[in-house]
Subunit: 348 residues, 4 copies
């Protein structure tokens, strides 16, 4: 931590800062330049609340030289985390995971139909919302517990691994029981009670980036989960808020290499929510793979025109199959491969 004094700070003000640092159990070292004095905090500055220093007389700024997370950092854990799923899929390995499915589970038939279609096209994960957080209370909120059962049946029928969202502490256990990966949505990225609760289950977690979250904040939220003992966190870029109304969100693909530099956790990309526009999904999925993503998650609906939510960004099954074909080429070009789906279960 570095305390930057204002231009013209008095000796008394500088001594006040030095004394405060000393009282907090750290050492203070002053540096005087032509323009201003800075005071470096030497020692374990994690214990110091910078606001205490920032509010002292004559202080202009506090500069943090370390991150607000540890367990999520590559400094702390240099080797890539690889997460093994029940069906053998390893997220974070050379095999890129493809998750696909409808925005919302709408019926048992719908989810079974999509599950078979996306498995055939090359998906290894089935996505589908049971509990849907929606901006307006007047919008469709998901089928809830019923949808979880449908998802479990689709999993049994296809061998696909299931990822679905938990929206509050109460629903965590049910979601964890019926699915493989528990998703935390963008709106809940800083719902810290939920993060702590999710840190105490055994399922891998897919943590989506908040709509205006920095990478540092995303990793700090992952830290809440890791600190509770759940080490299997997958991060997911899904678009951030920007000024151009031409897309629903702005997909930030630089998040992929930035996360990979700062953290050992795997990273997936959701180009469906990330753009909100069907015609942009395939090019952005291919770009994500070229940039190094460990997985891609897209919305596929057998009949987007009938979808109860987000149909406008869902791929048609044949578009999805085309996406997987092209993704194989791009994955190979960057020295990786698309993970192979489990063989469909007998009798499915």
């Amino acid at each position: 931590m570095l305390v930057v004094m204002r231009c013209g700070a008095t000796d008394r003000q500088i001594q006040g800062v030095v004394q405060a640092i000393t009282e907090l159990g750290c050492e203070a070292r002053q540096l005087h330049s032509a323009q201003r004095t800075t005071v470096n905090v030497v020692g374990n500055d994690e214990r110091i609340d910078s606001a205490r220093l920032a509010s002292l007389d004559g202080v202009q700024d506090i500069i943090h030289l370390s991150q607000p997370y540890q367990q999520a950092s590559r400094d702390w854990h240099p080797v890539d985390t690889v997460i093994t799923l029940p069906n053998g899929l390893k997220i974070g390995s050379d095999a890129i995971a493809i998750a696909a499915g409808p925005c919302s589970v709408e019926s048992e038939q719908q989810i079974l139909e999509v599950a078979h279609a996306v498995q055939e096209a090359g998906a290894t994960l089935l996505r589908g919302g049971a509990f849907k957080p929606r901006t307006s209370p007047h919008s469709f909120q998901g089928l809830g517990a019923r949808a979880l059962e449908y998802l479990a049946r689709a999993r049994a029928a296809t061998g696909l691994t299931v990822v679905t969202e938990a929206v509050d502490p109460e629903s965590v256990d049910a979601v964890a029981e019926h699915s493989d990966i528990v998703q935390i949505g963008a709106r809940n990225m800083q719902n810290f009670s939920l993060l702590k609760r999710i840190g105490r289950i055994k399922n891998p977690v897919l943590l989506k980036r908040g709509i205006a979250a920095t990478i540092t904040e995303l990793l700090s939220s992952a830290e809440y989960i890791l600190m509770e003992g759940n080490a299997n966190v997958i991060l997911c870029e899904r678009g951030i808020r920007s000024f151009d109304p031409g897309t629903r969100n702005l997909l930030d693909l630089s998040a992929i290499p930035r996360i990979q530099q700062a953290s050992h956790l795997p990273v997936m990309v959701d180009p469906s929510h990330g753009t909100g526009v069907r015609d942009l999904v395939i090019p952005m999925a291919l770009a994500a793979i070229a940039a190094g993503a460990d997985g891609v998650m897209v919305e596929v609906h057998p009949d987007p025109e009938e979808a109860l939510s987000d149909g406008v960004q869902s791929l048609y099954p044949e578009q999805f199959a085309e996406m997987v074909r092209r993704a194989r080429q791009v994955a190979s070009a960057v020295g990786r491969r698309i993970a192979s789906p489990a063989p469909a279960k007998l009798g499915s």
Copy 2:
């Protein structure tokens, strides 16, 4: 709802849209201009999920002509909502409420000291965090239930009304019991489970705008609370995310008249979190009052240099007293007044 067809859409595509609208129980009216065709949906288009139409062949865009909230809208409820608190304070009246207190409750002595100081200077509401949502799990998270008791004692001693934050469904009842106004923080503005839970208590609610929420989204979140039966919602602008690192957040004062045009709910402003810089708090508080705010909430700490969180944006008590003096002048200039504090309780 208006369906804009792509330039060059075929008759078959247009008929597809018309048919879909008809099947959904509404009437479709076509308009052909030189450049493109639009199809207007006539009837109760609230029932239609626009994504169904957006995904039809040949559709370029869907334009919503109505809002995703009703009970929160001024169209639905033209008269200003006025919320009466136990100590007689009326939020949304000509009397402007001043809420003040520390970011976090740190000890019984601290909160009592601040409560007396801010009451004397002219505050009518006491703010103080018991449960603190913090970006990093390594930061101070608040004293929790103990802080609620201290707040209740400060209320008893001063007659000030208390506002404090609930961060999850479990803590709602305890917060509601020990405080007067229950705050929902910016990070939880779209924690819909929490909003629904808060909609079933009787206390007034202070709903803070999310860090990247539009006014429409803020009002949609208020709608979640109103729909559960709690009509006493106060909205609060507290700064949004922007590109200039010079302030912690960007305080959006245009939110005040925008909310007042769109909704009947009262609106407060928090210039402490809204800027994150102590020297900006007073000018922004005065500006908020000039722009029509129904209340201002600021952080005051008897000794900001010792504050466990957010000291850098807290006013010193004498600065707060100065702020109230100047706020009285500005309130009077716009035809309002600063609400008078309750007389201090005997024996306090």
Copy 3:
């Protein structure tokens, strides 16, 4: 300047940084903490291009402790700049300037009519666009040189001081001749050729903040003008880009106290462009004055429904008169006053 080394930087990497700093003529001082090493640059670090250091092996970040501008800074020039106009108006004094007029000059009659109306209502400056930078080449681009003559006649008729925009080096002289204050629009805030050209005229300059410019960038652009010898720069907040489509721009009123802390130059606010919505102009104008603005510039059109550009944000003359009346109250509440208009010229 402070060079932050990566966690785990080697001695060789640190020595590389130290050597580079020494070769550049400055002194390097190392600080080793538990987590990482930092190297402070002592001496006149203005001469060093930080990119040279940032690109060295093992460097994580460069932290600048000084600003990219000097003459615009309050450190360099602690006393407020006050700019005296031909009609005696002093911008930056206790008297707040009100500039008003149409977005575009459309005819001699229109500008004369507005000039008399706004003068009567209390304006001291007449604004009106002769050259209009427009996003689309298909939009109305202004009357050009002809409009400058009309403005000069309106000035002669009323005694109002005139402010209008120059959009390229070629038009600077004509604009400077026919107007009092030359405006640089938001789109040209970083048109450095134009800034240098404008720095060589004698007229005061109104420099508008770019749509995504930080305060530091705005002051750096002012520095371009000051360095050429023109000390009379007025800064103008006019709204920045944000994510909420509910307003055309987001008016950042915290820019007022931020500029006043960082710089000695006066600051005005344009709530018409800053919001793009007529009903928001008056509350934002009053808020700007409460926050400490040295002036307010608004669009007024005798018949906004007939305006050739930006009619939607123009005030009706009677609204403008109401704004001035209320602005007087707020100015008085913050210890200032609205500047008095010059008496109308005889025979006007």
Copy 4:
């Protein structure tokens, strides 16, 4: 154009809108729904300034159904524009152009050395700044006319095509004479005087997206150039402003397919300025190609540690060679190829 009336608009207000449309030479058609009335403008609504309608009593919003540009649009010109350069390179074809070189031309030796290095590694275009627009007037501003001569010599020596920036109307002719492609930088994207001037030269133009420009605004700026008669415009995504301080800019790769849908003009990507971080350049370059870019432009410096500007984002020559090798793989995966460099000139 669609005029949305406020909820509860009176018949008189609706008739006012209808009358205004009629007087402007178009036809008005009303649509009454349960909640509100809309009035569609039928006919050539290009001639109507929407602000006239927006300011009428009872109007809530104006919705534009057409774009502010024509010649730049794919509707107007459905076939992809392919631009042929003097060395035979075709931008917008299946061959992807690689532009490389230093941020600034620093000496004849430096530019010759880089030119040979990047040509050998596979570049077809040489970039290098002669005139550098810099935020601070205290920063290095480029060698100017001298640099243009050095670039011309490097072109003669290598056969590479040269792209460099013109910053004002005065420098356009010199830049056009000594280079092949004239670049308009992000800060000048809405310097309309410069755009018009550039529209009257014969060289192809590389138009960079402004730091907070929408795709619609970028295409509108291209329209300024096209309307003057210069049809050879290449658009360039180079990062936009966002809230995360972790990168200098946020590279928006969705701009590639969005531009390709809306326009026939080719699109390049600059991941060096687009991220500002050397380690992000290669992954983002590969992603850009996967997303469909027609070219990639990166900074390469023989010794980034000695670079006078932007060294921190420049690739080392060996990194650039690695980038081209990997780019060939990704280009092939998406059915394209990297354009082949011209053979080096004899005697070079």
